[in-house]
């Protein structure tokens, strides 16, 4: 019984350690980008906005499903499924779970760019998403 409690507490602790904030991801992408290119000068929301709204020669852009306004609810372009807002200010669950962030960047970059995104691109998109304030505070 006592061991069970200990294991439970350890599991909870491990779970808490994995919960992150958008700022943690910004730092992580910047560190990776700097590793790839020592002259990396930091994320750019303008580049991120450009990447987000461009089809890159394919059929879709990020905004095809996430919408032009990342603080608004999106709609999947094929299925019509409701997609919760992507900007952390409008949806506090975004950019809090590494496995989820990794999974969706992998999938969606393949869908839109036909290749994985670089750390710099991920950082730029996140910087763009972080420029939005919560609704009503703008």
């Amino acid at each position: 019984m006592r061991w069970g409690l200990l294991i439970l507490l350890l599991a909870l602790g491990a779970g808490a350690a994995r919960a992150e904030t958008p700022a943690d991801f910004e730092a992580q992408f910047a560190a990776e980008a700097r590793q790839n290119d020592p002259s990396y000068a930091g994320a750019s929301a303008a580049r991120g906005q450009q990447l987000f709204g461009t089809t890159h020669g394919g059929d879709w852009s990020c905004s095809s499903c996430h919408g032009k306004d990342p603080t608004a609810v999106g709609e999947h372009v094929v299925t019509g499924k409701r997609i919760e807002p992507l900007a952390p200010a409008a949806n506090p669950q975004r950019f809090t779970r590494p496995a989820k962030v990794e999974k969706w960047f992998k999938r969606n970059c393949n869908d839109v760019l036909k290749r994985p995104c670089t750390a710099q691109e991920k950082g730029d998109v996140l910087a763009f998403l972080m420029t939005f304030a919560a609704k009503g505070t703008r």
Binding site: G80, K81, I83, N110
Partner: protein, 160 residues
Amino acid sequence: MSRRMRAIGACAAAIAASFADGAGAESKRAPLPPQYVDECGSCHVAYPARMLDAASWQAVLAGLDQHFEVDASLDPETLAALRVYLEGNARQKPTSAAGEPLLRITETRWFRGEHDEVPKRLRQGPEAVRPADCTACHRTAEEGSFSERNLRLPKRGEIR
């Protein structure tokens, strides 16, 4: 016949009835597994396992990196967990055509049979419903419930 025997008989009859329409072991009222909804219900309705047979689900899971031209790849642990649910609750009657497992629910014989009374205006033209969007008519589809009681066809001119 003892009371216990009668109870067993009733259970057997109920189980037999639940299989009679070819649906899987999963009750139509059972909630969908949260992990399945989380992983497969982000881009479309989390289609209940009973809509395709095990061979069809195997084929779907084998091609998730190119899932209807979208990358829906999963890590191996998640994939294994979803496989247990989908194949364990799959449709008993085959969902294949010419010996090949069908991947699209809308192409299965049962689906086409169930939807043959859908008015033409909802099938083609400006008011056509997207085939993947069950919720256009089945208002409780997100919860895995497709009962006719919760069915409501979009009215003429209703913009979705």
